[in-house]
Subunit: 326 residues, 2 copies
């Protein structure tokens, strides 16, 4: 963990001083004025997966550090740019970078993160660096594709459930799967293990997105850190909303009419919409799909030759994802 | 040339359909509605340098194609993002991407270009792909650093000439130098040739920036394609302006006062400022420095073992840069 932290710091230190300072803020290492913050507790789901991924292939966790740093940087590159595009003003209870330093700083710091992510893999010293970087770049293109679709869907009258799921796979699933695979690729692991980790990661990604969407509607603000009913407030066409619309019954039509109406912050009205969505079966559908994803993830591991104690660690991550309360 | 064009098209075809369409517009291949345009005449200075760079190492030009595509994509990645940051509404007589499709499209298409640039080198099949990509990523970080400084300088009371030159080296010189080197690195050329090409490229970059700055003040709009006195209109602290300010005489002080005054589009007033700058010796200083850069570039080649006919091609590029009228 400490090794990961110092590798992240070394990666950020490659940047120009301004991008490095903005990164330190965005990553939660410092306040907006540069004052160091007490180190946050966890290292995040993607780096955790990347370190386990190296161990799944029989290598020490340390061998996965460049992969862990690279996925964390690509994830944060996409957050910085997405916050600009989505005009999001808060992330993890703090003002977003573009609101503090302007759009140019957010764009440039994101660019620097993507660049340094590639450099960290190139400088890993692994004979499989090229292969690992190819996977990371393909994944980054998937992420970009997902964000392109997400923005397109906002202005589209109807989006079917399959399109919505594909978009979520690209925006969320692809990088989670890549995180679970990248450490293994970097240490030159057995292709059969790579395939098992990819299946695990994709299934986990599906569950992750569904649970995020459930939290966005029915999550407890004290737990999620987001405002109550936040996704409805933002009229996000999340998976449960798209499912409800696809049911085409009276409730679906009422929901469609609401999506076309002017936005409101009236909490009672939003609560009624949440009830409407639940009445279509969308909440239990999403919860069921998420649980299915977690079981699929577990099965992918069980069918592999990954050491049992590493499988158990991967399942801890899966259960952490599944048990976020909603 | 046709091989380069089709390699560019194949690279863009890796992107999601929306980013590919936006790229095709930005690169001048299609109109905003997607109608194909007659192919533009040249292939641009950076790809030309990258192809020559492979030849300098004794390889066929074709071996430099992945390098040529990669530098062209990184260049255009930076243009797309810079246009957003600088709020530039026109480029090469056409509306910029963000004015047509919005800031998110410009950010995402730029991101896709950077990603694909890396992929093209990774998939080049060269045993030196890793080394080439490391150079490209270091250069990209320099580009980002240069843009960070450029934006910082806008809000700074005074910038000294050395800082201004360093910024220009990063923003313009670094990628020109990398273009001149990358083909050679990709084909595993002799390090002595790599060093000669780097010296050539850095010197060319200095000349390129100075001449661009001269054109921005004294260029003929019919030739430059930019509005008359465009850099003064935008109050750009270009190298000649910074030189003039550094002279600290009456003219320098008058210029500083003008930079602090509210912006004006009055052409007569801008012409008087141009005369003021010229009176400090800034115009002949810049022209002299540019000519010196071209001579340095030529010397770097002459001192190397690069085949004479390839040296001659490199000097054609240098003279093309030098002879843009101003």
């Amino acid at each position: 963990m400490d090794d990961f932290r110092s590798a992240m710091q070394a990666a950020v230190a490659r940047m120009d001083p301004s991008s490095a300072a903005v990164s330190a803020y965005h990553l939660g290492w410092s306040a907006a004025d540069g004052t160091p913050l007490r180190a946050p507790a966890g290292k995040g789901i993607r780096p955790t997966l990347a370190l386990l991924s190296a161990q799944a292939a029989g290598a020490p966790a340390a061998a996965g550090i460049p992969a862990a740093v690279a996925v964390e940087l690509v994830h944060n590159f996409s957050l910085l740019h997405d916050d600009v595009m989505d005009r999001d003003t808060e992330r993890r209870h703090r003002p977003t970078v573009w609101t503090l330093w302007g759009v140019p700083s957010a764009i440039l710091t994101g660019d620097a993160m993507l660049t340094v992510a590639a450099e960290v893999l190139l400088d890993s010293g692994s004979t499989h660096a090229l292969e690992a970087l190819r996977l990371l770049m393909t994944t980054t293109r998937e992420l970009i594709h997902g964000q392109v679709e997400d923005l397109q869907f906002e202005s589209r009258e109807s989006v079917d459930l399959q399109q919505c799921q594909q978009m979520a796979d690209r925006k969320t699933g692809a990088l989670l799967a890549a995180s679970a695979v990248l450490g293994c690729v970097l240490v030159g692991g057995d292709p059969a293990i790579t395939r098992a980790l990819d299946s695990y990661g994709r299934a986990l990604g599906v569950a992750f997105q569904l649970i995020d969407d459930l939290l966005g509607i029915w999550g407890d603000p004290a737990v999620t850190g987001k405002p109550v009913l936040s996704d409805l407030r933002a009229r996000k066409r999340s998976l449960p909303v798209t499912y409800a619309l696809s049911q085409g019954e009276a409730a679906g039509r009422q929901l469609a009419a609401w999506l076309r109406s002017p936005a409101t912050d009236d909490e009672d009205a939003l609560r009624r919409i949440a009830e409407l969505i639940e009445a279509t079966g969308a909440r239990s559908w999403a919860a069921g799909q998420a649980a299915w994803g977690i079981r699929q993830a577990e099965q992918a591991l069980a069918d592999s030759t990954i050491p049992p104690q590493i499988q158990a660690e991967f399942m801890k991550v899966a259960r952490f994802v599944a048990d976020r309360e909603y």
